[in-house]
């Protein structure tokens, strides 16, 4: 059967349908009008009109991370494309599959400095996994199918397709999905069996092992999560996770150590430092994790499972590198380890777990609570207590202290329920991400744990929430400060709070009302539970202005350039608690 003739704009819609896309986040403009005209004339794809193109990209990230499917963004040329750059970079660093479709000025005007022209493929080359400028309608559908393949295979990431307006108008031949040229990009998913056997041998002898898991487990899919849980259960090895990997192993699990890294838990970081076998599963030795590289876990053998060969030996030299998809490798690892007799050093593990219990006893997340002021940690503990039983709870965050506290005090039982900007640290991520999550899960409880400064960066997306009746809950820990910046200034720059407070803040309750949402303000700890319940029960978007302690610091903390066993602890922690300085090295 001859492949169908259609216009480029028709091809875009047809290719998206063939790829199983149900939702597109976008914003129209001159160079994408033909595509928007096609969207108008169909009903299979739901288009969500955002209020800013950056919002579209973060919403697509929230959609992608909460569903495991790629997020799709449609924006116009020039400013539409440049506004998408931050979200694409965010998706690149956090390995989120995303397809960005941009309009471009007609091919014959490219290079003329035409109205709303930008060198989109040039600008986005370093912030995409790959990108294409399509100058021929006959190639458009093939490229779109390739783009989905590239975005979702191997280590996922954002891709961009730049489509000039004349290519959208012209007719060409549609290439169906199964005939597209996708073969040459096919990253290796099966790990090397010899290496995996080597790791199984190390597991049998390890006295102080640790599973250090990351976002790669979640990207690898549900089977990877199940295999990780099986591995932990069968071996009894303790599990820690990066910020991106939270939920892969349940927070209620007996071997859970909590998050590791700069603001990770004492027991997790100490176990990383003192272990004799570190098994990195889908994490990348990020500098927020390693601290001082030459003092990183000095006595351990290290294995690293990663689908991206460039992640291996980039920062930390490992003894057993395994290139492959987490699910495939864990399946082989479990099979090999079981067939060798399911051996572990039981005596060593018992001692190790006793040591870990000693570290746990430090209760590193303790803080001094207050009767009169809401402590941010308390607010999150209450939010956790009042929402943790809801299996359909999704959390997004902005970036800063509140993000770290959320990672510390909220527990995640399942993957894909925690959406945060890890690698890029994009303030303004959380609100649009919560929009994307709620679009994908209309009946779920979607809460964006925010700081007031981050939240203001993309607050226009409240309009999107209102338009589509998305009942997102914006839980703003309002300290009237750029809390993390202020903390660093206090600890490292002599209390000189250079531009780190938020003056002239809006009245968030009135602001919520202006957007047609509900506003709640709470500043008294004794009112907090009722206020949180009011937020949860309200059927519609809510902006919750939670006035919290202004100068609270986020602990534990590994100062940069320090190893894992030199953490700063909060003043209420453990027996050797601290004097008036508010913090000590331990």
């Amino acid at each position: 059967m001859a492949n169908k003739q259609m216009t480029g704009a028709e091809m875009v819609v047809q290719a998206l349908i063939d790829q199983g896309v149900d939702t597109v986040f976008g914003y129209p403009g001159g160079a994408v009008l033909p595509i928007y005209d096609e969207i108008f004339q169909q009903s299979k794809i739901n288009h969500i009109l955002v209020r800013h193109e950056q919002g579209a990209t973060h919403a697509a990230e929230g959609y992608a991370r909460s569903t495991g499917k790629p997020g799709v963004v449609l924006v116009t040329s020039g400013p539409g494309a440049t506004n998408a750059v931050t979200g694409m970079t965010d998706a690149l660093l956090d390995s989120i599959p995303m397809i960005v479709l941009t309009g471009q000025v007609p091919t014959f005007m490219i290079g003329n400095d035409a109205f709303q022209e930008a060198d989109t493929v040039g600008i986005t080359r370093p912030c995409s996994k790959h990108n294409w400028l399509v100058k021929d309608t006959d190639q458009l559908s093939d490229v779109i199918h390739q783009a989905f393949h590239v975005a979702t295979s191997g280590r996922p990431g954002p891709v961009l397709i730049d489509i000039p307006k004349d290519v959208q108008f012209a007719k060409g031949t549609y290439t169906p999905k199964k005939e597209a040229h996708t073969k040459h990009y096919s990253p290796k998913v099966k790990g090397d069996i010899e290496r995996i056997t080597e790791l199984a041998e190390l597991m049998e002898k390890a006295e102080r092992p640790i599973l250090y898991t990351g976002g790669g487990v979640i990207n690898s899919g549900d089977s990877a999560t199940a295999l990780l849980r099986e591995l932990a259960k069968e071996t009894g090895f303790p599990v820690t996770s990066t910020l991106m990997g939270l939920g892969a192993y349940p927070a209620s699990g007996p071997q859970w150590l909590g998050m590791l890294g700069m603001h990770g838990l004492y027991e997790a970081n100490m176990a990383m430092h003192d272990c004799d076998l570190m098994i990195n599963i889908g994490a990348r030795f990020d500098d927020r994790i390693t601290g001082r590289v030459d003092a990183f876990s000095p006595h351990s053998k290290k294995a690293h499972i990663d689908i991206d060969p460039s992640s291996i030996n980039k920062i930390i030299h490992v003894d057993v590198p395994i290139v492959g998809d987490v699910a495939h490798v864990l399946e082989d690892l479990l099979r090999i380890w079981k067939s060798r007799g399911r051996k572990t050093d039981k005596e060593g593990l018992a001692k190790w777990s006793k040591k870990i219990e000693e570290w746990r006893a430090k209760r590193c997340l303790s803080y001094k609570n207050s009767e009169t002021i809401i402590k941010p940690q308390y607010a999150l503990q209450r939010l956790e207590a009042l929402t943790k039983d809801r299996k359909d709870r999704f959390i997004t965050t902005e970036v800063g202290q509140h993000q770290m506290w959320a990672a510390q005090y909220l527990g995640f039982e399942e993957p894909n329920h925690w959406m945060t900007s890890g690698g890029l640290g994009t303030m303004g991520y959380g609100l649009p991400a919560s929009v994307g999550v709620q679009v994908a899960h209309p009946d779920a409880l979607v809460i964006n744990v925010a700081g007031e400064a981050s939240w203001l960066m993309n607050m226009q997306e409240m309009g999107t929430a209102r338009q589509y009746n998305l009942p997102i809950k914006q839980f703003i820990l309002n300290n009237e400060r750029l809390g993390m910046v202020r903390q660093w200034q206090q600890l490292l720059h002599g209390n000189r709070y250079s531009h780190s407070w938020s003056e002239a803040l809006p009245d968030f309750v009135v602001l919520a009302q202006a957007f047609g949402a509900k506003g709640i303000k709470c500043t008294d700890p004794s009112d907090l539970d009722d206020a949180i319940m009011e937020m949860i029960k309200f059927d519609g978007p809510v902006v919750f202005d939670c006035g919290v302690e202004k100068h609270e610091n986020c602990y534990p903390m590994i100062p940069s350039g320090a190893p894992h066993n030199e953490m700063l602890m909060g003043e209420d922690t453990g027996e050797d608690a601290i004097g008036s300085s508010g913090a000590v090295m331990v």
């Binding site: 040459h184 060969p309 490292l492 002599g494 350039g561």
Partner: protein, 187 residues
């Protein structure tokens, strides 16, 4: 006053570890990348080098398979062994890159560069330039009564040596292609 008593400008004073863990043992490697000859592929490859702070000493690009639209990019780069390994795996994961050969590591290889030299002069200098060109097996590809254009191919060091000799004899301009390289043997 900082409660941590941390010296300004040290790692602990910064948001990042300021110590370079890579050390200073630098190697020179010749890498050959076979890539799809698609729009922007060269920008993608050299953008990787500039974006990640890698060095390029020489770069040669041309389509080598016109039917399959494959190009060969030969890059001479320097870095610590860890950086060289990173460069290779960063190149290998790019979508239009088929293969990356590290010719320095994969056994013996031949490296050649083509250069053109314009040498202007008269009298003894001119005679000496021609005599040296013969020793170096450079060809004269253009001649006037007051100038020569020499063409030579060879290892980059040989070309450097010839350029050094020509300089006092009236070298006024030179053009070099950068290194092209292949592994020795039938593989």
């Amino acid at each position: 006053m900082s409660p941590l008593k941390i010296k300004k400008g040290t790692s602990k004073h910064s948001a990042y570890d300021l110590k370079d863990p890579n050390g200073d043992y630098i190697e020179r490697h010749t890498l050959a990348c076979v890539v799809d000859n698609e729009a922007g592929v060269l920008a993608r490859v050299i953008g990787l080098f500039s974006g990640r702070g890698y060095n390029i000493e020489s770069l040669t690009v041309a389509e080598v398979d016109h039917e399959g639209h494959r190009s060969r990019i030969t890059v001479v780069t320097t870095g610590t062994p860890a950086v060289i390994a990173q460069i290779k795996s960063q190149l290998e994961r790019m979508v239009p890159v088929y293969r990356v050969h590290d010719l320095t590591e994969e056994g013996a290889s031949v490296e050649r560069e083509l250069a053109l030299f314009k040498v202007a002069g008269t009298g003894n200098d001119r005679i000496e330039a021609l005599r040296l060109a013969e020793i170096f097996r450079a060809n004269v590809v253009d001649s006037t009564l007051e100038s020569f254009v020499f063409e030579m191919t060879g290892h980059s060091e040989k070309i450097d040596a010839f350029a050094d000799l020509m300089r006092p004899l009236g070298l006024i301009e030179q053009a070099r292609t950068g290194v092209a390289a292949l592994s020795r043997g039938k593989e």
